[in-house]
């Protein structure tokens, strides 16, 4: 009999002893009896005196009860210790099954009976076969391997539990971090007898990942002797760099120590032909932000020529269609220039073409997304009494068209003033020069106010600061990027009272007093600068036109640092476009699944597992709450950002299965057959015995046999 409990025998014995002592103490303790009033206890006395002749039997009955209880406690301890019959096989293995759930496992290999069978389906079948072939004493743990490594079970010999752990597992759209998985498996196997790792995969790993393995213990491997120690697994070919002693530290520190672990490989996959988009990006022209150019890189990973049709969509509208004929291994770069604006979402799609070389077993890399903020020439209304500095600065910016109105004209008919008579649409932005209107332009018009003042100010003002100096700039905010304003002189500036619940953020401070502020208000943005242009030398500085351009770009949602696509499986830091004070945002992935992602230093930290467009929804932070949880669904969001994620991994797109996998120079063999041993868990029977004894104790107690 074997005891499978993870507890040491000594610990189990101590627990059993403690329980037995407790039971005996409970029997020795004087029982607290329920009191009953009787009219004539002499009658009871007479009865009891007659029965005292049986006192020895009474003592024995209590002893029987004690023994029965001790037996129950003992059996419970035995059941917890997981007794097992027939598992004394010292060849029993401790196996970690590394199941590859990376993107390449979504490749459809198929077979005549099941044409839609994916590589991952096959891997699960092989893993199940492996589990079914385990001996009674073998114990296994399953880990899924993608960009992260996640254990799906604990070490167990329960085949049903392991099979259940495999249910519902699906591959994700990321690469596989093999070194991390091997490290986790090695850690899990540390201290366990007969350790074994079985990698169930198509072998789509980078050469770098496959090289980060060490088959000898560190203290043995440190001197580059070149000869493996006796008894160690055979090592691969000698590394010339290691022999030379160069770059020893980095390579060895990064390597996963697999010494003493039996590592095997179960390969899956059959088809190799694949054409995929390995790079897709888009950028606006600096000079003309109304147009953009697109970069697409397509590679044929197969051994045969391939024919595809590459289509570029703007939204749902195809804007470029191009047939491609790719030689084996050919990588084709396509650049589309001077594309017009329109929808912000761009999509590139590869479609198989009828005929030879037109099929594709791996559709995941046949589509790629990129997001470009919609950009058009902004129509800006300048409400001013002839400020040449302001008008001149705006003239230098080609991406805007400036219209002008006096404060009196605006105040006379605000609703009409904010509508561009040439287009019949509201102005994209309205700039107020030293004038605070009673009626602000309604959304979607963005508003920039120089020196907002009085009760009509959209930003609360708590005072006036004479001769301020800007000591602090919100450099991470798009409006203040690249600005230097410490040398700018002001005669005075209004100090704003920042209301963080409205999402207001200070752009510039004089010591602790915010004198420039910005916020999102519904579907538009507002900026308030606390100074008047008549009382500052800002117009003489380089920062002035830059401030205007930054502000108008922020209004347009055009961030020069915008990354239009992100790779899956990597930890991404996505700037939140001036949103501050948030602790987390809601993430909706392309499949509609919602989750939360933390916000650190104004950027969302996110690991995307799906290819497509993710939505990041920012809700206002809870007032005074230390941790802002997800607000109620009816709360209107502050902003919704979109992030495009693509596979963009040549390693994953290279779906050609590897019949053999070599790690650290050592080729892994298929797992051997497990030693067959019968095993039967006894805990269930022990529990049944406990239940039977409990029933017996209950019956004997209530029949007054053991009391």
């Amino acid at each position: 009999m074997t005891w499978l409990t993870p507890l040491a025998a000594r610990t189990v014995a101590m627990v059993a002893l403690a329980a037995a002592v407790l039971v005996i103490i409970a029997y020795l303790l004087k029982m607290r009896r329920r009191r009953f009033e009787v009219p004539f206890s002499s009658l009871w006395k007479r009865v009891l005196e007659q029965r005292d002749a049986n006192s020895l039997w009474k003592q024995l009955r209590r002893l029987l009860s004690l023994l029965l209880t001790l037996a129950i406690v003992g059996l419970i301890v035995v059941a917890v210790s997981a007794p097992t019959l027939g598992a004394t096989d010292h060849r029993a293995r401790n196996v970690v099954i590394l199941l590859d759930t990376s993107a390449s496992m979504r490749a459809v290999d198929g077979d005549p009976e099941r044409p839609r069978l994916t590589r991952f389906d096959r891997a699960k079948e092989r893993a199940l076969t492996l589990i079914d072939g385990m001996g009674g004493g073998d114990r296994a743990m399953i880990m899924r391997v993608d960009a992260q490594t996640t254990p799906l079970s604990r070490f167990t010999s329960d085949a049903a539990l392991l099979r259940k752990a495999l249910d519902g597992v699906t591959p994700v759209d990321t690469g596989a971090d093999l070194p991390r998985a091997l490290s986790a498996a090695a850690d899990a196997l540390r201290g366990r007898p007969n350790p074994m790792i079985v990698i169930v995969s198509d072998g789509a790993y980078s050469e770098l990942a496959k090289g980060q393995v060490r088959w000898t213990a560190p203290e043995v491997a440190a001197p580059p002797t070149g000869a493996p120690p006796p008894g160690a697994p055979p090592t691969g070919p000698a590394d010339p760099e290691a022999e030379a002693g160069a770059a020893f530290a980095d390579a060895e520190l990064a390597a996963v120590d697999l010494s003493g672990i039996d590592v095997h490989y179960l390969g899956v996959g059959s088809r190799a032909e694949n054409v995929g988009i390995v790079a897709f990006n888009v950028r606006r022209y600096i000079a003309n932000k109304a147009s953009y150019e697109v970069f697409i890189e397509v590679q044929n990973f197969g051994a045969e020529p391939a024919r595809r049709q590459l289509t570029l969509y703007n939204g749902e509208t195809p804007i470029e269609v191009k047939p491609l004929e790719l030689a084996p291994g050919e990588r084709r770069r396509e650049i589309y220039r001077q594309l017009p604006g329109g929808e912000s979402q761009l999509r590139a799609a590869l479609r198989p073409v009828d005929g030879p070389g037109g099929t594709d077993p791996f559709p995941l890399d046949d589509e790629a997304w990129a997001l470009l903020p919609a950009r058009k020439k902004q129509h800006v209304l300048l409400v001013t009494n002839d400020n040449l500095y302001l008008e001149g600065a705006m003239l230098v910016y080609d991406n805007i068209e400036v219209f002008k109105a006096t404060p009196a004209e605006y105040d006379a008919a605000p609703a009409a003033a904010v509508v561009n008579i040439t287009t019949g649409k509201p102005f994209d932005a309205v700039v107020f020069d030293d004038h605070t209107p009673a009626v602000l332009p309604p959304p979607p018009s963005n508003v920039l106010l120089f020196h907002p003042d009085g009760d009509n100010s959209p930003f609360a003002i708590r005072g006036v600061l004479p001769r301020p100096r800007i000591t602090e700039l919100a450099e991470d905010h798009p409006v203040m990027r690249w600005l230097t304003m410490s040398d700018v002189n002001f005669d005075q500036a209004n100090v704003f009272a920042i209301d963080r619940t409205k999402g207001e953020v200070a752009l510039a401070k004089s010591v602790r007093d915010p004198i420039a502020v910005a916020r999102r208000d519904g579907g538009r943005k507002l900026i308030g600068l606390g100074w008047s242009l008549a009382g500052t030398d800002l117009m003489l500085r380089v920062a002035f036109p830059l401030l205007l351009v930054n502000s108008l770009d922020w209004f347009a949602g055009d961030d020069a640092d915008l990354v239009t696509t992100y790779p899956t499986g990597q930890r991404l830091r996505i700037p939140l476009d001036g949103l501050t004070g948030l602790r987390e945002v809601t993430v909706v992935d392309p499949t509609g699944k919602r989750g939360q992602a933390p916000v650190v230093d104004g950027a969302v930290t996110l690991v995307a597992h799906r290819v497509g467009v993710h939505q990041l929804i920012a809700y206002p932070p809870s007032t005074g709450a230390p941790t802002a949880g997800a607000p109620a669904p009816e709360t209107p969001p502050l902003a919704t950002l979109e992030v495009a994620t693509n596979l963009a991994s040549t390693t994953e797109s290279q779906i050609e299965p590897a019949p053999d996998l070599a790690l650290g120079g050592q080729t892994l063999a298929a797992p051997p057959a497990f030693a067959v041993s019968a095993r039967r868990d006894l805990w269930l029977y022990v529990v049944l015995a406990v239940i039977a004894l409990l029933a017996l104790e209950w019956i004997t107690y209530h029949r007054r046999i053991t009391v």
Binding site: R34, F36, V38, P39, S41, W44, V47, R51, Y701, R704
Partner: protein, 314 residues
């Protein structure tokens, strides 16, 4: 491990003294109608036998001849039967039955043990006592109520006439209750205080650790006519108990730890029955009228049973 399980009637589980103390609702209009009915019935049962006067065995100055006895010196010459002297040549004295009222003493046990039961045995005993009192009063007998425990707890002096029943009620409502049962001591005190002999109706549960014999004998030896009525509660005879219990004697406070099993309960029931039989045998052997009842029997039914058995007011 099975825990102690016990069930019992609330009367046993809770102190009965406080419940028995409330006697304000004991004698209501309905009770009065019931005892009036009992009186009417009793007249039929004893038709022709009941009179206002009672002949006692006491020989005295009545007008009805009773017996002769030999003359002794000092006897009144006026009662010498000269006719018999002429025929028998012996001086015999004529004896006459002295006519006097019958004294009925209702001795009601008011000890703590009587306070137990549902309803409390004391209430039952008082109702029976009150009913018997009414019948006695209506028959122009002199009825006295004497509650007792280990001593006499008071006394309602002998009185007669139906209209006195309300004093009886008032007395029973307000009399002192509680204490340990000591029938012998109480009867000794009773006979010492009551020289006028009569019918002594002893109503009690007779749960006396010192025994009931001496108390009854004390009445007998002092020329009283004892009439024994034992009252018990059915739950006392067959308690519904189980498990590990601490039994507390309501009078002595004596604690007795028992684990009540079915066999123990059966043994107790047998012991209780045996105890009652002992009392009955004792009374029967000494020609003392004896009735045993439990509180489940309606008191008027009991009184009628007593009348029909002819053990009362013979």
């Amino acid at each position: 491990m099975a825990g102690a399980a016990a069930t019992s009637s609330p009367a046993v589980a809770t102190s009965g003294a406080s419940r028995a103390a409330d006697r304000s609702e004991l004698f209501d209009e309905r009770f009065l109608r019931t005892v009036e009915h009992l009186h009417m019935v009793s007249r039929k049962v004893f038709a022709g036998n009941l009179r206002a006067e009672r002949r006692t065995r006491k020989v005295g100055s009545g007008i009805e001849f009773a017996d002769h006895r030999t003359y002794a010196r000092g006897d009144d010459f006026r009662y010498i039967d000269w006719n018999l002297y002429g025929r028998l040549d012996r001086l015999l004295l004529r004896l006459f039955e002295e006519e006097e009222d019958l004294h009925i003493y209702l001795l009601i046990d008011c000890s703590d043990s009587m306070a137990i039961g549902t309803p409390p045995k004391l209430h039952y005993a008082m109702k029976v006592g009150a009913a018997l009192s009414y019948v006695g009063l209506a028959n122009l007998d002199r009825v006295a109520i004497v509650p007792f425990a280990s001593r006499l707890l008071g006394r309602l002096p002998p009185s007669r006439g139906k209209n006195r029943i309300f004093r009886v009620f008032e007395f029973l409502r307000g009399c002192e209750i509680g204490g340990q049962t000591d029938v012998a001591a109480a009867m000794t005190q009773f006979v010492a205080q009551h020289k006028r002999r009569g019918l002594a109706v002893l109503i009690s549960d007779f749960y006396d650790p010192r025994g009931f014999e001496e108390g009854i004998n004390t009445l007998r030896y002092n020329k009283f006519e004892p009439f024994v009525l034992q009252v018990y509660d059915q739950r006392e005879a067959a308690p519904n108990l189980a498990g590990d219990l601490a039994l507390v004697d309501c009078e002595t406070g004596e604690l007795r730890e028992v684990t009540v099993s079915k066999s123990l309960l059966e043994a107790y029931t047998r012991e209780h029955e045996r105890y009652c039989k002992e009392l009955e045998s004792f009374c029967t052997a000494r020609a003392v009228p004896f009735f045993r009842t439990h509180t489940g029997v309606p008191f008027d039914e009991l009184v009628l049973r007593i009348f029909r058995a002819g053990g009362f007011l013979r």
